[in-house]
Symmetry: C2
Subunit: 99 residues, 2 copies
């Protein structure tokens, strides 16, 4: 399994309501992109020294499934919104052995 | 449930063998810290523009469980190693509704 992790920082002008809307679009992706095995999305609740604003964790059978997600038109719309408001994005895509 | 996400970049002097050893220490934490519900750890395999080196995703029942993990001596040893070799650390701790 491939686990895709994405951690964002946003400009303060990206309001709480807009973030909720954006998370809603993300949470709708698994129903539109069959290669998404599972997805979790949420805003940081800890506010520590290293804390960023929001994380996405999405699981796929393999890199081909991740690629289908990355190139899907519904995902492109999500990217279009975050591109205008993100300060930073850090991603890691790593393998998890099937148990 | 609380999901703890941590994304690292390391100095190049932190060798592949040392990273494997460090990931082994991390993967041993759930057996030592009962509040860890599950944990996945791995190095990035994509190497994209936003890719960082390594991610940890750990799940807890609640913030108290995360706090037990953060303050546990076995976790402190892991932190001691990464403190000397990390370029950056980005974390997000977010809630996942129980299904």
């Amino acid at each position: 399994m491939i686990r895709h992790v994405a951690v964002f920082r946003f400009v303060p002008e990206f309001t709480a309501d807009e973030r909720e809307h954006w998370m809603g679009l993300l949470r709708a992706l698994p129903a539109q992109i069959p290669s998404v095995r599972s997805m979790s999305v949420g805003p940081d609740v800890l506010g520590g020294a290293a804390s960023h604003d929001l994380a996405i964790v999405a699981d796929f059978d393999d890199l081909d499934g991740l690629d289908l997600y990355s190139r899907h038109p519904a995902h492109a719309e999500v990217l279009r919104i975050s591109a205008g408001v993100k300060i930073s994005l850090a991603t890691v895509d790593f393998e998890i052995p099937e148990s």
